[in-house]
């Protein structure tokens, strides 16, 4: 059916663009010589991996109704609980991504302080210059 093919194509666009982000940010970490550019590429890289994890936890549309976030909004009678477990999105990748975002932020904060000390010592943040000057 044409509508189903269109839906699948849009989801594949999401996956392909995540793959493209992954490749471009990896190129940015390895081949760009400035320190701050490497830090920016590192944040893009870790965000792309978090998006992969959340995409795995998504759920398909059953009977034309959208999946719900994993939050109960009414008192849990047994029908409401059954409906909830039938429609809600997987909560476990979201909890793991929460931890991953916090740790990524802590690493970037430390890298910013390290970059500042590096500049104070070598007067430049171009890593090829630092490799030439080293010591």
């Amino acid at each position: 059916m044409l509508v189903e093919l269109l839906n699948n194509y849009f989801l594949m666009i999401v996956l392909a663009s995540l793959l493209a982000n992954f490749v471009i940010s990896l190129y940015g970490i390895f081949f760009k010589p400035h320190y701050i550019k490497k830090v920016i590429a590192l944040t893009i890289f870790s965000d792309t991996m978090n998006t992969f994890a959340i995409y795995i936890g998504y759920r398909a549309w059953i009977g034309g109704k959208n999946p719900r976030p994993p939050v109960l909004t009414s008192y849990p009678s047994s029908e409401a609980l059954h409906e909830f477990t039938l429609r809600a999105v997987d909560p476990l990748p979201q909890a793991l991504v929460l931890t991953a975002v916090v740790i990524g932020l802590a690493v970037v904060l430390f890298l910013v302080f390290l970059g500042y000390v590096l500049y104070m010592h070598y007067r430049t943040l171009d890593l090829r210059e630092i490799k030439r000057l080293r010591g």
Partner: protein, 263 residues
């Protein structure tokens, strides 16, 4: 012009790879049912008919973060603390935090319009952040979300006014360090709350326990009066909010105070 051509090439590459992936799409689409572990978490997160397994919190993600997988969050808080200490140790002699008396604060900073708008909106930012943190067991939110939102307000104040404005009004890095340490002590005490209650009464209890379990019949109460607080979850969110917000404020103040390089 050359940039536009490169952008068009990359977009068409992405669309073509998506067309190729369409052939294998039956392995890459989201499924109709979740995994067995996830359905267990969804079924028992707020289920008064299963008193030994439930968490009494309608928000499944906060229950996983602070109850089912509480030890992960404890170590994540420790990692954040270690990264902050490492960053501050790198910059330890490169700044001075004295209170300079000769700076006229009414002439520094941005224009009057921006200052007035900032005076109006930064209490609002702090109030919204506190609401996100304290309702973390009922709606999406929690300690870290609220703490990060509250940390945006001092950053705006530093940019619009100046760092000396913040220090003159009592927000120094030593006081923020005290608040952060109090937040971390609070998290540690809440983690052993059920154990302390068990020691006082004389029954068996686990460390990091929230609700009564099979072998230990006492637990932190789930409601106070008529209000649902889900046991230790509310206290964890409160202390985590203080710890995270104070940690960010320390990092900003020290990063703004180190001496800039001469060009």
């Amino acid at each position: 012009m050359q940039r536009a051509v490169e952008v068009i090439v990359i977009m068409s590459l992405v669309l073509a790879i998506a067309l190729l992936l369409l052939l294998a799409s039956e392995y890459l689409l989201p499924g109709e049912s979740v995994r067995l572990l996830a359905s267990f978490y969804l079924y028992t997160t707020y289920n008064p008919s299963l008193p030994n397994y439930t968490v009494n919190s309608p928000e499944a993600v906060t229950a996983i973060v602070w109850d089912y997988r509480g030890l992960d969050t404890l170590f994540e808080t420790a990692v954040f603390y270690l990264a902050l200490i490492a960053g501050l140790a790198l910059a330890r002699r490169l700044y001075e935090e004295g209170l300079r008396e000769d700076v006229d604060l009414s002439k520094s900073g941005l224009s009057l319009i921006v200052k007035t708008v900032t005076r109006l909106t930064s209490p609002m930012i702090i109030a919204v952040g506190a609401s996100i943190a304290l309702h973390g067991h009922l709606t999406p939110g929690g300690g870290f979300q609220g703490g990060a939102t509250i940390a945006v307000a001092p950053m705006i104040l530093i940019v619009v006014f100046s760092t000396l404005f913040l220090i003159k009004h009592g927000v120094t890095s030593d006081r923020m360090l005290v608040i952060r340490s109090l937040g971390l002590i609070g998290i540690g005490l809440t983690a052993i709350l059920a154990l302390l209650m068990g020691l006082v009464i004389g029954k068996f209890a686990y460390v990091f326990q929230n609700m009564p379990k099979l072998n230990s019949p006492i637990g932190v109460p789930a409601t106070i009066g008529n209000i649902l607080i889900s046991g230790t979850l509310w206290f964890f969110n409160l202390f985590e909010m203080f710890a995270v917000a104070a940690g960010f404020v320390i990092a900003f103040i020290i990063l703004m105070l180190v001496k800039g390089g001469e060009k």
